[in-house]
Subunit: 148 residues, 2 copies
Amino acid sequence: MEQRISLVTLGVVDLPRAVAFYEHVLGWRAESSPPGVVFFDLHGVVLALWPHDELAKDMGFTADRLPAYRGYSLAHNVRSEEEVDEIFARLKNYGATILKQPQKAFWGGYSGYFPDLDGHTWEIAYNPFWTILADGRVSMKEIKSDSR
Amino acid sequence: MEQRISLVTLGVVDLPRAVAFYEHVLGWRAESSPPGVVFFDLHGVVLALWPHDELAKDMGFTADRLPAYRGYSLAHNVRSEEEVDEIFARLKNYGATILKQPQKAFWGGYSGYFPDLDGHTWEIAYNPFWTILADGRVSMKEIKSDSR
């Protein structure tokens, strides 16, 4: 697993209100984003704002595990579905806890989630619509990288 | 406020145990770090592992506000103390909540904290020991940037 972070997702109560805070108070500009989520391009790292219920569900926090939901997730994007599987095989080999096994995602990618020892969650994701640059930063432009 | 993230700090229960997870399970390598905190250089973004009590205290979560502590913080580093103050003046102007007013930090820098509307905390920091590269990424090497 390369040493980098691709995405920080923050769960929010009211998406337009949250976006307004980042745009009007911090002065940032959101990217054109799919419905229901808003991305900010932070020069190679993406900040995502996503309603709490969607984020919790995506992370695999079903009713019985919901109290452990912290309201955010970090993500590490890789260049193929196989690379996602390899990382989860490594995690399993070490006996690490898995929150959500890698699987096809509703947004067209492939991802899974695991918590670190203190409950901070990481998503490992392959997103065919984003590009991982040679230096590991993520680009929201769909330019296929030749660096895989 | 430029559109970038400098640091993700995760609160941990047991620092050596947390570092071992990131090094042995994820395969990352920690930087040489000051006592009591451990930094991972993620190509322009830093991941910090720091014991919960220290993080909570640094963020300004005193006993009466401790229940709001979420166990992590995002940070945006700037190039001077004045720039920290300018951002907090802007936040105040918008009526944003301030968690900790900018002040000299025990580690030799200058920083303050604010929560976004959903309680996700951001630190705005000037760290004289780190460099902000021209593209906004942070370097843990103390090379003074000429881009301020």
